[in-house]
C-alpha cells in the first residue's frame, strides 16, 4: 500500500471510532502530535508536583501533611505512566526530561505561578484538579488507546484528589474570617490562570488532534463544562470571582471573551511566567541530585559493590 492509501485507511478507521495502538501504522503527524500532547501532560504532572511540594511545610496538621504528600506521590506516578506511554511513540525518557529542562517542551500554565499559603492548596486541589479532571475525562475516549488506558487510572486518582481538595476548601469555608479570606485571596489570584487552563478557542479546521479524535472536545466546550459545574459551588460557599466574572446567561455560566486577558498565557507559552525559571531550576536540581539513582538503575551490577 502507498502512503496515501494507508493514510486514507487510517482516516477511515479513526473516523469510524476505531482505536489506535502503539504497534499500528499511523501517519507521522499523528505520532508526532500524540507524542507532544502526552509529553506535555507528563511534564505537567511532574512540574505540578513542585508547587504542592512547596506547600507541604504549610500543612496545618500532620494528617493534612501526609495526605498532601500522598497526592504529590500520585502526581509523580501519573508522570511515570505517561512518560512510559510517550516512550513507545519513539522518544526516550531522557530526551523528554532534558527537553523540559531546556525549555524545548511545555507544561501547563497553572504550574508557572507562585504559591503563598494553605489557601492555594485548597484552590489547586479543588478547582485546578477539577479543571484537570474535566479535560482528562474528555480524553478517556481518545483515539490513542494506550493513552486512554493510563488515563483510566489517572482519572480515578484525580477523583480522590478532587475530594481531598474540596475537603480542604470546605474546612476553610466553614472556618474563621481569616481562613475564608485565605481561600478568597487565593481564588482571586488563580481565577484567570484557571480560565486560561483550557486554552484559547480551538481552531477546529486546523487542529489535527481534534481531526484525529485524539482530543474529543474543543477548549471552549471544556471550559464551559467547568464553569457550569464549579461556579455555582463556589458561589454557594459565599466566595466571589474577580475578572473575568462569570455571569448566568440562560442556564450557562459564561465569561465574556473580551474580559479574558490572554497576555499572561502568551508569556507562559514562551516560558516567561512568574515562576517558570525558578520551577525549572528546582526541577533541574532534583534531576541532577538524583543522577546517581538513574545510573544505579541502568547498570546495577557496576554499582552494586
Amino acid at each position: 500500500m502507498s502512503y496515501e492509501e494507508k493514510l486514507e485507511e487510517f482516516n477511515r478507521r479513526v473516523e469510524a471510532g476505531d482505536k489506535v495502538e502503539a504497534s499500528d501504522w499511523m501517519p507521522d503527524d499523528y505520532r508526532r502530535g500524540v507524542l507532544k500532547f502526552i509529553e506535555m501532560h507528563a511534564n505537567s504532572e511532574i512540574m505540578g508536583a513542585l508547587p504542592e511540594r512547596e506547600c507541604l511545610p504549610k500543612a496545618p496538621t500532620l494528617k493534612r501533611k501526609m495526605s498532601l504528600a500522598a497526592k504529590i506521590q500520585d502526581e509523580i506516578g501519573h508522570a511515570q505512566l505517561l512518560y512510559r506511554v510517550a516512550e513507545d511513540l519513539g522518544k526516550s525518557r531522557t530526551a523528554m526530561y532534558e527537553d523540559l529542562l531546556a525549555g524545548e517542551s511545555k507544561f501547563h500554565n497553572v504550574f508557572h505561578y507562585p504559591v503563598h499559603h494553605w489557601g492555594d492548596v485548597a484552590v489547586i486541589g479543588w478547582l485546578i484538579d477539577g479543571a484537570a479532571l474535566v479535560t482528562q475525562a474528555a480524553l478517556l475516549d481518545s483515539s490513542y488507546a494506550p493513552y486512554t488506558r493510563v488515563l483510566k487510572r489517572i482519572c480515578s486518582e484525580e477523583q480522590l484528589h478532587l475530594r481531598h481538595g474540596e475537603h480542604i476548601t470546605l474546612q476553610l469555608a466553614s472556618g474563621t474570617d481569616y481562613q475564608r479570606e485565605m481561600f478568597q485571596e487565593a481564588l482571586n489570584r488563580w481565577w484567570l490562570p484557571i480560565i486560561h487552563f483550557f486554552g484559547p478557542r480551538s481552531n477546529v479546521a486546523k487542529d489535527l488532534l481534534l481531526h484525529w479524535k485524539v482530543k474529543t472536545r474543543t477548549n471552549e466546550d471544556l471550559r464551559q463544562e467547568f464553569l457550569d459545574r464549579y461556579v455555582p459551588k463556589v458561589t454557594e460557599l459565599g466566595f466571589s470571582f474577580p475578572t473575568p466574572v462569570p455571569r448566568l446567561k440562560g442556564d450557562a455560566w459564561v465569561v465574556a471573551a473580551e474580559d479574558i486577558d490572554w497576555a499572561p498565557l502568551d508569556a507562559i507559552k514562551k516560558n516567561r511566567g512568574p515562576e517558570t525559571q525558578r520551577r525549572l531550576s528546582r526541577r533541574r536540581a532534583v534531576y541532577d541530585s538524583h543522577r546517581w539513582v538513574r545510573e544505579a538503575l541502568s547498570e546495577p551490577a557496576v554499582h552494586a559493590a
Partner: protein
C-alpha cells in the same frame, strides 16, 4: 534497561490482568517499580512482570475475524428458546387431549 509489562491479579477468583508497563534493568526492579506505579492502594494481591520481548503477539489481528457464519457458537443464537418452550408446551397439551380419547 528493558520494557517490562506488568500484570496484577485482584483476587483469587480473577485472572491476571495487564495494567501497564515499566522500564527496568532487571525483573526485581521491574516488580518494585510495578508495585509503586500500579499497586499503591492495594489494587491487587499479586504481581507479575514479563519482559516485553518475551511476549509473542499475533502479527495479524484479522485472523481473529470469524470467516463464516458461526452464530451457533453464541448464546444469542438460541434466544428463541422462550418461543420454542411455548410451542413444546402447546404440543404436549394437544397430546394429553389426544391421550384422553
Amino acid at each position: 534497561m528493558e520494557v517490562y509489562e506488568i500484570f496484577r491479579r485482584s483476587g483469587h477468583k480473577n485472572p491476571f490482568e495487564h495494567c501497564g508497563a515499566v522500564i527496568a534493568p532487571d525483573p526485581e526492579m521491574a516488580l518494585l517499580l510495578g508495585k509503586e506505579c500500579f499497586l499503591r492502594r492495594r489494587e491487587g494481591e499479586h504481581l507479575w512482570a514479563v519482559r516485553r520481548s518475551d511476549i509473542h503477539a499475533l502479527e495479524d489481528e484479522s485472523v481473529l475475524e470469524i470467516a463464516a457464519d458461526k452464530s451457533y457458537r453464541f448464546a444469542s443464537d438460541y434466544r428463541d428458546v422462550v418461543d420454542k418452550r411455548e410451542a413444546a408446551r402447546r404440543r404436549v397439551a394437544s397430546m394429553s387431549w389426544g391421550g384422553a380419547s
